[in-house]
Symmetry: C2
Subunit: 230 residues, 2 copies
């Protein structure tokens, strides 16, 4: 009986991980399409991102309920419990990432109404980094791969640097030519959304490290410094 319950729990836990991977894939795709719509100045594509948030919201509710049922029916302890509690948190991070993709698409809809400020280089680069961080953070969680999780944490700095670079460059454009102020503001906000997607991927990687090592890497080395620019 116990073995059967254990097996059932393990199956349910595997299923939870699969659903989190599905949700992460959907969120990553939303980010990709949102930034592609910006690069292509394609407002129909941006609109697609707005409706594309619904399935992610549905997954959010489903996974939340799945975690709750796992806790209620199986009352896991130790590492199993940590996995499920992390599932709850990661689910929130992924839902938030979906929201950022929508925020990017909305800013894009404003952006394409004006002439372009400049060719976009750093923002697509930021999107690529953020998508990679998200993908790898989830894989690190599912496979309990600490090396990969640490690698995600290491990439967050490059995203912060690019965000600062985008800001300085666009501020220069605005000062030189106030006519581009609105467009430049849209791009600054988009770069911040991408940076925050990286922050959420970082949260997920930190959860992965915590589960495997019991080591809480949150709030270390940040004292007096910059927390997630959330």
């Amino acid at each position: 009986m116990r073995n059967r319950a254990t097996r059932h729990f393990e199956e349910e836990l595997e299923h939870l991980k699969e659903r989190l991977l599905v949700m992460a894939g959907a969120a990553e795709e939303q980010v990709r399409v949102a930034v592609q719509s910006l690069v292509d100045r394609d407002d129909a594509m941006a609109e697609q991102v707005l409706t594309g948030d619904d399935p992610i919201n549905q997954l959010h509710l489903e996974i939340d309920e799945r975690c709750f049922q796992l806790l209620a029916l199986h009352q896991p302890v130790a590492t199993d419990l940590r996995m499920v509690v992390s599932g709850v948190k990661i689910n929130s991070d992924l839902e938030r990432i979906g929201d950022f993709a929508v925020n990017i698409a909305e800013a894009t809809l404003g952006y394409v109404e004006h002439p372009a400020v400049k060719p976009l280089i750093d923002i697509p680069r930021m999107a690529g980094i953020a998508q990679g961080m998200l993908r790898d953070a989830l894989n690190a969680f599912v496979r309990q791969d600490m090396t990969l999780a640490q690698d995600v944490l290491d990439r967050d700095d490059s995203l912060d640097k690019l965000k600062d670079q985008v800001f300085r460059e666009l501020l220069g454009f605005m000062l030189a030519n106030p006519a581009v102020t609105e467009q430049a503001l849209d791009l600054i906000l988009i770069s911040r959304h991408l940076e925050r997607i990286g922050d959420h991927a970082t949260n997920i990687a930190e959860e992965a490290i915590f589960i495997v090592s019991g080591l809480d890497v949150r709030h270390h080395g940040r004292e007096g410094g910059t927390p997630h620019d959330a």
Copy 2:
């Protein structure tokens, strides 16, 4: 034995709520001080917010562990389980609000290096609304007061409107006088941080409603619309 365990669980749950209230109070105070430092152009006060984040981060770790222990030792079910799982989520929301206070203080440190753009009216107003939402959301959760929780949800719109108003006004300032671009950008970002604090207070209020009514008010009426501008 069972009664004793139940009593012990209830005591622990009360203690969890108390700690969440302490953390919410600390986060609210950080927001208050950050915006006060902006209004007073007081960089020493802004610096104080940066160090003031440490106790909140410590509470974040402590409460997370407290929730984990409650789940591991008492294996609660039904409403008790929902309370603890909500505790995990609310803890994350509060930690994030603390980060936003730091972000506001950081923007303030940039802001005070330049002459003021304009007298600040809407931003202190936004701060007052966000602080009230945070306080009431926590009270709604602790007291299981659905009316108060619903009231928090209703206030989120006014924050969004003020954010848009701040944006339009400052954009006007920038276009009229590019010399204020940097300062105006700081204020735009600060207003967005405040709006996001309201979003997290909304999350907390939604959790409170969910616990009491079992009604999941997340992701309703937002389809195709604007998710939390997260």
